[in-house]
């Protein structure tokens, strides 16, 4: 029943460090860097064969941005939901710590990790697949990635909060990964998808960020994509708020009816 990064079971370890089990290099590198590398290569070649996009850049940008999302969604879900698994949630909630600070604080290492993974993804595109964005667009590209990483982290918070309640958090995180690959225009232009799928895609993180990044990589200016980036930020704020609300609601529910201990 174990599966990959998608199920960070391994452990049985009890320290907090265990939650970030993958910080050890021999686990971090295959999971956080190796997997995205091959994902980018896979979809680029599939794109070549199927002629789905207009050139490799479509797939390289799409996947290099998406992989930050992957790391954020999993990382965040893991960080929050693992508290429950290891039983540390109770003590955490019993502390007087400011909830917002705790909650957002969980997101910071995850966000940083997402940036690293995405940067690595672009590096893969440059080294292995001859991806050559115009040099002057790199800062803008970095901004797109940052904003998208923020919204994916926020989305991860929501999934993590759901995970606090249900047993199936890893299942949900995995499912979210696949569905984001499908709905967010990572490898399929949104225009090709049926209407209802592209609507879902527009409500998810990644979609607008990827679109903006693609335009920038093709030589577009930051001004042209500002609308997309603001939308992405708006989505980030919405998910962050939702995640925080769920978290507080859950905390309240658990004090009323001890649901947090039920597993």
């Amino acid at each position: 029943m174990s599966t990959n990064l998608r199920v960070f079971f391994v452990g049985g370890l009890i320290s907090y460090r265990a939650l970030f089990n993958w910080i050890r290099l021999y686990i971090y590198i295959p999971t956080m860097l190796g997997s995205p590398l091959f994902q980018i290569v896979f979809f680029t070649y599939l794109g070549r064969y199927s002629h789905a996009g207009n050139g490799d850049a479509f797939f390289i940008v799409g996947n290099a941005v998406q992989v930050c999302g992957m790391s954020c969604v999993y990382g965040m879900t893991m960080a929050v939901a693992n508290e429950r698994w290891f039983g540390t949630l109770g003590p955490l909630l019993a502390s007087p710590a400011n909830r917002l600070a705790v909650f957002l604080g969980r997101g910071v290492p995850v966000f940083a990790n997402g940036l690293i993974v995405s940067a690595f993804g672009f590096g893969v595109g440059v080294v292995l697949l001859h991806f050559r964005p115009p040099v002057h667009s790199l800062p803008a590209l970095a901004l797109c990635v940052c904003i998208t990483t923020v919204s994916c982290t926020a989305f991860g918070m929501v999934l993590g909060s759901i995970g606090l309640r249900s047993k199936d958090f890893f299942f949900v995180a995995n499912l979210a990964y696949f569905l984001m690959l499908l709905f967010c225009g990572v490898n399929i232009p949104l225009s090709v998808l049926p209407g209802w799928m592209s609507v879902i895609g527009r409500c998810l993180p990644l979609t607008h960020g990827i679109e903006a990044a693609r335009q920038i990589a093709a030589g577009g200016a930051l001004g042209d994509v500002s609308g997309l980036l603001w939308t992405e930020l708006g989505i980030a704020a919405a998910y962050a708020a939702a995640g925080y609300v769920f978290f507080r609601a859950l905390e309240y529910a658990s004090r009323r009816s001890a649901v947090l201990d039920a597993f």
Binding site: V10, G11, T31, F42, H51, N174, F178, L181, I188, V192
Partner: protein
């Protein structure tokens, strides 16, 4: 023969355990179907409608591989966690015979993904399911499944010593999809990938299944190669298990979670 019976019973036992888990649902139904959908739309976007069956078969096979990969490494990890790994090692039959049913069960349940993607393609994308060589197809699928189960055995036997095998499992999903030509031909890749693919059972499995369904190549040669690679895997696995079991007994890693 007692060995055959043990393999049959063990496979059924483990398959039953797998099928009631939600991981089965995820790995063998949802993941292949979602990836099939992605592939279908990519092919549609590129204007290659005739290859949707190609995509369905490829993603189905990818699902068998994912199930085998994660299931085989997972089988050991699961037993370790349940505290039953020690009991399996302590039992009389050679560990190879105990382990084989566990990995075979993962590829057998993985076969569901092939049916899932074909069904999905038929119902939601209208892919006509006309197989060029029906009989050969009916042989190709079990041959592919069996050789993948044996490949799982080889992987599991190298994972037995290494506690963090799951990290390696992560790394082997996409590369095998790429290197065995599941969703795009090997001709697109650098030349050195070809010979590597000869060693990998999924390459022969997908060739056999695809040629049987689409009628675009020899079928019996890849089926034969499934058997050959399968045999090679068993030999290697037996050697690895001897080494690793002894090392595990020397280093006491069997009981650790």
């Amino acid at each position: 023969m007692k060995v055959a019976r043990l393999i049959w019973v063990g496979t059924r036992f483990r398959a039953r355990e797998l099928m009631v888990s939600r991981w089965f649902l995820l790995l063998c139904v949802l993941q292949p179907v979602i990836f099939a959908t992605i592939a279908f739309y990519m092919f549609k976007a590129g204007g290659r409608p005739g290859t949707l069956l190609y995509a369905a078969l490829g993603t189905g096979m990818a699902g068998i591989w994912s199930s085998t990969l994660f299931g085989s490494g997972g089988a050991l990890q699961w037993n370790r966690w349940q505290g039953t790994l020690e009991l399996l090692v302590a039992s009389p039959p050679p560990f190879l015979v105990v382990l084989l049913p566990l990995t075979l069960a993962t590829s057998v349940t993985g076969a569901y993904s092939l049916f899932a993607t074909l069904f999905w393609g038929r119902v939601f994308f209208g892919i006509p399911l006309h197989f060029a060589h029906g009989l050969a197809f009916a042989v190709a699928v079990p041959a592919a499944v069996f050789s993948l189960g044996l490949m799982g055995l080889l992987m599991a036997s190298s994972f037995i010593l290494y506690r963090h095998a799951n990290a390696l499992s992560n790394l082997l999903e996409y590369p095998v999809w790429i290197a065995t030509g599941l969703l795009f031909p090997l001709s697109l890749l650098p030349n050195w990938v070809g010979p590597v693919s000869w060693l990998l059972a999924p390459r022969w499995g997908i060739d056999a299944i695809r040629h049987a369904a689409l009628g675009d190549g020899a079928v019996w040669f890849p089926i034969g190669m499934c058997a050959v690679t399968g045999g090679a895997y068993v030999v290697l696995a037996a050697a690895f298990l001897r080494i690793f079991e002894r090392a595990a007994r020397a280093n006491a890693t069997l009981a650790l979670t």
